[in-house]
């Protein structure tokens, strides 16, 4: 027992004497002291803080890559070189340019690392021409959304469509093309509405057929809500009372025909299988 105690003691002493352990203890003590009595900001601390900020800024500069493109004619004036990793210079100096002031240097440095600064100072020069197809698609999408049954979404999408339309007209897309896009968008929305309605009616009919009216009541109700939304959407698209009672009945008839055809296909397949099995049994027996 004594031996074991002695061993334990020696091991604990070894740990205490270890320089790493001592350093850790000291650091902990310092932290505690700082928490209890916070020291004023010394010069050394300030310098160390500054170096941290500096390295962070440098890292940001290295990582930062902006996808925003500026107009080609204005871009040339703004190209600058990096000298000694710190200083910035104008490549093409303007005529009234005399000396590089600190302010200019600072703003140029900010342009390199801060996208918001670019937006604030040079947003009027951002070139959207390369993104025209994307913007056109967005315009169509927002136009379709602006005719949504959801009032809040419709209003927000109207605002968005207005903004995107404005940008497109700035780029130089003619009004005729914008009108054409609008027509295309509404036609697409109309086709989507018709397809969705057909799909929903098909589903409701199938549910009522297989599950029965009582069991499939909940699902049928869900489909009914969606059908009502589609009817409302069609009204908003400008086709008022398109989904009249007679038109819905026509759609129901076509969907019933479709279901019947599918069942007939399956029946013929099963009949074939049945005949094949019977023949097999007859030949084996």
């Amino acid at each position: 027992m004594d031996k074991i105690d002695q061993n334990d003691l020696t091991s604990s002493e070894q740990i205490v004497k270890n320089p790493y352990y001592q350093r850790l203890q000291e650091e902990l003590k310092q932290k505690k002291r700082l928490e209890e009595f916070p020291q004023p900001f010394t010069d050394d601390a300030f310098v160390s803080q500054q170096t941290i900020y500096q390295t962070r800024n440098d890292k940001m500069e290295e990582v930062f890559e902006d996808k925003v493109e500026l107009d080609q004619d204005k871009k040339e004036d703004l190209v600058f070189e990096k000298v000694d990793n710190i200083e910035m210079k104008w490549k093409n100096k303007p005529e009234d340019y005399t000396s590089e002031s600190e302010h200019q240097k600072k703003t140029m440095k900010e342009f390199l690392s801060n996208g918001k600064q670019i937006l604030r100072n040079l947003s009027h020069q951002i070139n959207f021409k390369n993104r025209t197809p994307e913007l056109k698609e967005l315009y169509k999408h927002t136009l379709i959304e602006s005719r949504s049954h959801n009032a809040l979404m419709a209003v927000f999408s109207q605002f968005k469509a207005g903004v995107v339309g404005q940008i497109l007209s700035w780029i130089g897309v003619p009004i005729q093309e914008l009108k054409l896009l609008k027509e295309q968008a509404f036609k697409q929305a109309f086709d989507d509405n018709c397809a969705q309605m057909a799909h929903l009616i098909y589903n409701t009919e199938l549910v009522e057929l297989i599950k029965g009216k009582r069991v499939g009541k909940k699902t049928a109700k869900l489909y009914e809500i969606q059908i009502n939304q589609l009817i409302k959407g069609m009204d908003l698209l400008g086709y008022k009372e398109y989904w009249s009672k007679s038109r819905i009945l026509e759609e129901k008839i076509t969907q019933c025909q479709r279901i019947e055809d599918e069942f007939r296909d399956e029946l013929s397949r099963l009949d074939y299988m049945y005949d094949y099995c019977i023949q097999g049994n007859v030949t084996s027996s």
């Binding site: 009919e205 199938l206 057929l209 297989i210 009672k245 007679s246 009945l249 026509e250 129901k252 008839i253 019933c256 025909q257 279901i259 019947e260 599918e262 069942f263 007939r264 399956e266 029946l267 397949r269 099963l270 009949d271 299988m273 049945y274 099995c277 019977i278 049994n281």
Partner: protein
């Protein structure tokens, strides 16, 4: 649903069960009859709708015609 319908007549070993197959064929036949009945019902409803629409339009036309006749009669009288 289709997969379920097709696989219903298969045993766990994947062999075709003739009794199940017969049952399935009967079920599908019943479903086809149901769909047919439903389709005919919808067709009748649509016909009724069309008849109602035509009746409404004819009554409107009759009204217009009587109004026109009255007007012309009063014109002749005058």
């Amino acid at each position: 649903m289709k997969k379920q319908a097709i696989n219903a007549h298969l045993s766990p070993e994947g062999q075709i069960n003739i009794v199940q197959l017969e049952k399935k064929i009967k079920q599908i036949n019943a479903l086809i009859l149901k769909v047919k009945a439903r389709r005919i019902r919808y067709q009748n409803e649509l016909d009724q709708q069309v008849v109602l629409k035509v009746k409404k339009q004819s009554s409107l036309l009759e009204k217009a015609l009587s109004f026109f006749k009255l007007n012309t009669q009063s014109g002749v009288n005058r």
